[in-house]
Assembly symmetry: C2
Homo-oligomer: 216 residues x 2
């Protein structure tokens, strides 16, 4: 059986996703507690929670280890990785701002790495809107073929050695998978879940509350 | 003063956006009536509404002319264009499923064409998610630079002659601007509005209802 760890990233200082949203109550507990507990369906070992420097470290939110993040998301993931034992086979990285990630999504990314031979796996959903590339003048440079685009979510699963190598080499990217891709490693996109929304606005929080209501 | 017309596309037959959503009530009137009335802030001439073949053509939803759409969205826009007089200078194309397009967005696309010299103008908002390109195996081929991506909305404004030329030449594209771009014409992206959502799911309709509440 693979030793699976999860890192839940609640952001460092100066994140564009204000920490307020991650600590906002949702159905009686903070958003990030939902994210930590969702990881329990997939991990066989522990959950490392990375919190902003200003946080109360004595509140674990259900995690096994709580560490302080860095200035960027990438730095925060690296701080989390440092708390994952060398024996880990697979590391799942999950955004604290995604409280509604389903067991199916965790299962799909994990299975792609453990059983499917991928170095990494990320959930992706079809892109609803037409997406265009703009030039610096604001004119359209290209209209992309939407059928090959996927909007990427977390949780993302990686072979632990590959993720460590990627983070040792790369920096600054907001997306762990992109660092892994930069190594030439294989990252698979598995079906995500439209309900697995990222809480970035008060509106998102209302939507999440509604999704938790019976019948949804 | 430029002669400005609008075409509101409520879909033809067999659209992936079911007609139900466009005819759903929102704050006491159908979604598409909202879309038609929003166009009134920008047009100096008339509004052409394109409805599915099964519709009751005696209900105008506030439009000046009601015509029946074709099998694809592109066909439907062409049916609408055929009902716009040759004297038109500018044609705005708007989705019937976007009831909350603001006066500011209409003003911005119109101004880019009438005053700004663009052949076309479309509203765009930043893309929130990381977007990746997948290969046919489902593996990641590329992670796109999100800073140059825009998720495109309607209303979209075009020089009438350019839009007619684009639709005479191209077919099948779901996006009018892409047809215009294919001519080598200039399409500008102006700031869109996150509230200008497209109603495609029951969830979207609930969000629109909430956005109409006082204080939102």
């Amino acid at each position: 059986v693979a030793e699976v760890w999860a890192i839940v990233v609640a952001g460092g200082s100066g994140q564009r996703f204000g920490q307020q949203k991650q600590f906002s109550p949702l159905g009686g507990r903070p958003v990030l507690t939902w994210a930590v507990e969702a990881c329990r369906t997939a991990v066989t070992a522990g959950v490392v929670l990375v919190v902003p420097a200003s946080s109360d470290l004595s509140i674990s939110h259900g995690a096994d280890t709580v560490v302080v993040g860095g200035p960027t998301r990438s730095d925060s993931v690296r701080h989390g990785l440092a708390a994952v034992p060398p024996s880990a086979d697979v590391v799942i990285v999950h955004d604290a701002a995604r409280p509604l990630a389903s067991q199916a999504v965790f299962g799909a990314v994990l299975s792609a790495v453990v059983d499917g031979g991928a170095d990494g796996a990320v959930p992706g959903v079809p892109v609803r809107d037409t997406v265009k590339v703009v030039d610096p003048m604001g004119n359209v440079k290209a209209t992309l073929d939407r059928t090959v685009l996927r909007a990427i979510q977390t949780p993302q699963a990686f072979r632990a050695d590959v993720l460590r190598r990627a983070h040792a080499k790369g920096a600054g990217a907001t997306d762990d998978a992109a660092l892994v891709e930069a190594l030439g490693a294989t990252v698979r996109v598995v079906p995500g879940d439209p309900r697995n929304l990222k809480i970035t606005t008060p509106e998102d929080l209302l939507t999440a509350q509604r999704l938790l209501e019976p019948g949804q």
